[in-house]
């Protein structure tokens, strides 16, 4: 019934071959996911170099709202004659940038604070983790909503630039992710800090900061990575949600969420305009979740740490 490790005995350490075998067997699904995300990153990076139509100013004089697989518009165009492919590609760079920035920010801060809380422990650790708890008790929606309003206020003459707005959205979402990442890092750091090799390093008089970075951090990274991948996935979805409330980046700049939101008042009008980015969201989120899972499995990350 239960699957026992391939080796027959409970051998104390896996052999080298075994470890390699575990690393090798990613499975087709994971490779597909990596492939898809690779494509997405490629699109995001090269969006401005690709021979695409203008994603902002469409050809309003040509037939608008045409559906998939029309000449010149493989994914059709929207009511303003803008090529869906061009918009979804530029949207990819926006959505992925927001996701990467916010999770990068969350991981950096949450990871650092979590690491300190887990390694140092004691009163500082308790105080820090109490802080995460408090942050978690704050309604995340309100936080994101208010932060976007506060950091990117409506001014009459000077709407925020695309980059600034992207940073604001990323910051707002990233802030929400800090306590979650911090909690996981802390729990993992806590358990690794009690391992023999850390004790050994301590007893040899290594400086705490050095132990944290050299001994504890490398072991906590898989857990952080796994959560960060899942986090990226959820930021992509959250961006879509924020867009529905007009809180993602400003039009006319496309993001996946913006594209979906632009048709949400009538899903039947030009369905390809929201279906294409929805499929991008769907596949990317699925891939990220899958990879997060793979990382967790491969490194046997403790999920109970959440």
């Amino acid at each position: 019934m239960s699957e026992v490790a391939p080796m027959t005995e409970a051998s104390p350490e896996p052999t080298q071959e075994e470890e390699e075998a575990t690393k090798r067997g990613l499975g087709i699904a994971a490779w597909l996911a990596i492939g898809w995300l690779g494509c997405m990153v490629f699109l995001a990076v090269s969006a401005s170099f690709l021979p695409l139509d203008d994603p902002i100013n469409g050809s309003i004089r040509e037939t608008p709202g045409v559906s998939y697989f029309t000449e010149g518009h493989i994914f059709g165009n929207d009511l303003l004659g803008r090529d869906t492919l061009a918009r979804v590609v530029v949207g990819t760079s926006t959505s992925l940038s927001i996701a990467a920035l916010s999770i990068g920010f969350g991981t950096l801060i949450g990871g650092f604070v979590g690491l300190v809380a887990g390694y140092v422990g004691g009163r500082i650790g308790t105080a820090l983790s109490a802080m995460f708890d408090i942050l978690l008790a704050f309604p995340p929606l309100l936080l994101a909503l208010t932060l976007v309003s506060v950091l990117s206020p409506v001014t009459e003459t000077d709407p925020p630039s695309r980059i600034k707005r992207m940073l604001v959205v990323a910051l707002a979402v990233g802030l929400v992710s800090i306590p979650i990442l911090a909690r996981i890092t802390r729990a993992n750091a806590l358990s690794w800090s009690q391992r023999e090799f850390v004790m050994a390093a301590k007893s040899q008089g290594a400086k705490p900061f050095r132990i944290m970075l050299r001994e504890v951090l490398p072991n906590v990274v898989p857990a952080m990575l796994s959560v960060a991948l899942l986090g990226l996935a959820s930021v992509i979805i959250v961006e879509g949600g924020l867009a529905l409330f007009g809180l993602s980046i400003n039009p006319p700049d496309p993001s996946w969420g913006n594209m979906v939101a632009s048709q949400v008042d009538d899903l039947g009008e030009t369905p390809h305009v929201w279906i294409v980015p929805s499929v991008f969201i769907f596949l990317s989120v699925m891939s990220l979740n899958l990879l997060g899972d793979v990382v967790r499995d491969k490194f046997a990350v403790r999920e109970a740490a959440i």
């Binding site: 100013n57 309003i60 409506v154 009459e156 039009p251 006319p252």
Partner: protein, 568 residues
């Protein structure tokens, strides 16, 4: 959005460029318009006469386009169409317009003026009681009128102070059912203001004098009494069994026992709910919905009536006090660069009626052609060049709009069009209506998508445009464009003072043409309103008015709920 904080005068929706009579004549055959006979309308269409006798009883759910924050203390309330529709269930106005565009007595039995239109005598009907059983008499009407003018201690109206305050000298009772209003200046169209787009309802004493909870404690003489109001969820009204009107057969009005108003901001979802019979009736001004409804009512799935008569106009509200729009060249350039037909096709399924001026069909002053600029890209480009030569700057402006899908599409379309003429538009979406309105009040905007000026008498627009200051920027807080135009001021004053209908028509037509010349606002289209319902629902426009004339078939300020009935 749940936080539509609507003001009573405008749904600041940016339907600016969506329009086009001509577009439909050219034939709009884009996908999504299944029926090429779906032509733009002028006037009211679609009401199907029924030979069935109304059946009293039953209840319906009515889908509204928005929630009304702040409740129903009418002098202070902020009502858009959704709020007005509820107010019309609970309150009656003294006067009411008919289908011919005349104002007729309602709660008032008659309303008469002295020779120079400075003294108005209102005679009230006998035997009308409020929901709480108190009588409608001269004193309560007097206090209501004082309250609207900002002259009643318990109430502090905001906008209506601008409308009435300056003109109202005094209100007094001259008999148990007679009220006399004395004005500072002649005001022939004054009776129209006692309808006030359905917003000048008469409140019962207990509500009017209630300083703190006037907004919740609604007491009117209307056909329905307020039972429950849950913000963002529903407003429930129940039949007023002792209502003062009966139908031609002597059956007590209203017919329905209960109406549940349900705000549903998402246009498509409201129609879905109607199709699923979760709502039995709804209103909508969305082109997509109206287009779908035409098809649905043709095959009998649903019933709908549609009208832009006495409607509002959508427009680009420019700020005339600062660059670039303090310069007429810039305004003209934008006007010529606006391909309104294309906008109508792209954004409104080609069904909107392009506006020539502020006055919708049916309103005196309405013109088929007021001389508003036709799309002309070459002209627009040369104007841009002239502006540059004159000021040294390119034309660049920020367009502020509400960030709902329709608003976003309209804004992006505007941006693309302007780019063709070399005009730069920065887009500034705002999450909620209140921000939009606050911007306008502070004249902080450069250009805003706006909708206002529902019809009836053209004089009702005086408050939005007239400036008292002889020169300099306008001292009128609600002239959001801030411009001060002597010709327009003069025409508004003439129109207000004149009692001669033919003369007034000419004055307002001139005003209309003046607007097309000065381009303070860039007109887009007249708003189409549709009341869609289950085929079982009848009597939407209501029974004849108390004076026997046909009820108004304009839908921009809602419709009477008196005659509404449902087959059971």
């Amino acid at each position: 959005m749940t936080n539509r904080y609507r003001v009573r005068f405008a749904k600041g929706v940016a339907a600016v460029l969506a329009a086009g009579l001509l577009a439909a004549a050219c034939g709009s055959d884009k996908p999504g318009t299944p029926d090429s006979t779906n032509k733009p309308t002028s006037g009211t269409v679609g009401e199907k006469p029924t030979d069935k006798k109304p059946q009293p009883g039953g209840e319906i759910s009515y889908g509204l386009e928005a929630d009304t924050a702040g409740g129903y203390c009418l002098p202070e309330a902020q009502l858009a169409i959704a709020g007005i529709q509820v107010a019309r269930a609970v309150y009656d106005t003294l006067m009411i317009p008919n289908a011919d565009g005349e104002i007729t007595p309602n709660l008032a039995k008659s309303m008469t003026a002295n020779a120079d239109n400075t003294e108005w005598t209102i005679e009230l009907r006998e035997g009308i009681v409020f929901h709480d059983g108190t009588k409608l008499d001269a004193e309560i009407v007097r206090d209501n009128l004082l309250a609207y003018a900002g002259l009643y201690a318990a109430r502090s109206p905001l906008l209506f102070k601008f409308v009435f305050g300056e003109y109202t000298k005094g209100v007094e009772t001259t008999g148990p059912l007679t009220v006399k209003v004395t004005l500072n200046k002649a005001w022939p169209a004054y009776p129209w203001f006692l309808y006030g787009s359905g917003r000048i309802g008469i409140l019962g004493r207990a509500q009017l004098d209630d300083a703190a909870t006037c907004n919740k404690n609604a007491i009117g003489t209307g056909p329905f009494a307020l039972k429950e109001a849950v913000p963002n969820q529903r407003v429930v009204v129940e039949k007023n069994a002792s209502y003062w009107q009966k139908d031609a057969d002597g059956v007590q009005l209203p017919y329905l026992d209960k109406i549940t108003f349900v705000p549903q901001e998402i246009e498509a979802d409201r129609l879905t709910a109607l199709k699923a019979d979760d709502l039995q009736i709804m209103h909508t001004s969305s082109s997509n919905n109206i287009d779908d409804l035409r098809t649905l009512s043709k095959d009998g799935t649903l019933a709908s009536i549609e009208s832009n008569k006495f409607g509002e106009v959508s427009y680009l509200l420019l700020n005339g006090t600062k660059p670039p729009f303090d310069n007429i060249k810039a305004r003209q350039a934008v006007a010529y660069a606006q391909d309104r037909q294309l906008g109508n096709e792209r954004l409104s399924r080609g069904i909107a009626a392009l506006a020539q001026g502020p006055y919708a069909p049916g309103t005196p002053g309405f013109l088929e052609d007021a001389g508003y600029p036709e799309y002309d890209l070459a002209k627009a480009k040369s104007l841009v060049a002239e502006y540059k030569a004159e000021t040294g700057n390119d034309i660049e402006f920020t367009y502020t709009f509400s960030s709902d899908p329709e608003g976003v599409r309209t804004a992006e379309f505007l941006q693309t069009l302007m780019k063709e003429a070399g005009i730069t538009v920065n887009l500034n979406p705002v999450g909620d209506q209140s921000t939009l309105i606050n911007l306008a009040i502070g004249r902080g905007q450069q250009a805003i998508g706006w909708r206002n000026h529902p019809g009836g008498d053209p004089d009702t627009n005086y408050v939005w445009w007239h400036c008292d200051a002889k020169e300099g920027p306008c001292d009128n807080l609600v002239n959001f464009g801030g411009w001060n135009d002597p010709e327009i001021n003069a025409l508004l004053e003439q129109g207000r003072a004149s009692a001669d209908q033919a003369e007034r028509k000419t004055i307002y037509e001139n005003l209309n043409r003046e607007f097309a010349k000065k381009l303070w606002n860039l007109w887009s289209n007249y708003t189409n309103w549709s009341i869609a319902s289950s085929p079982k629902v009848h009597g939407i426009l209501g029974p004849p008015l108390p004076d026997g004339s046909k009820p108004s078939d304009g839908l921009a300020t809602g419709h009477s709920l008196l005659g509404l009935w449902i087959e059971q």
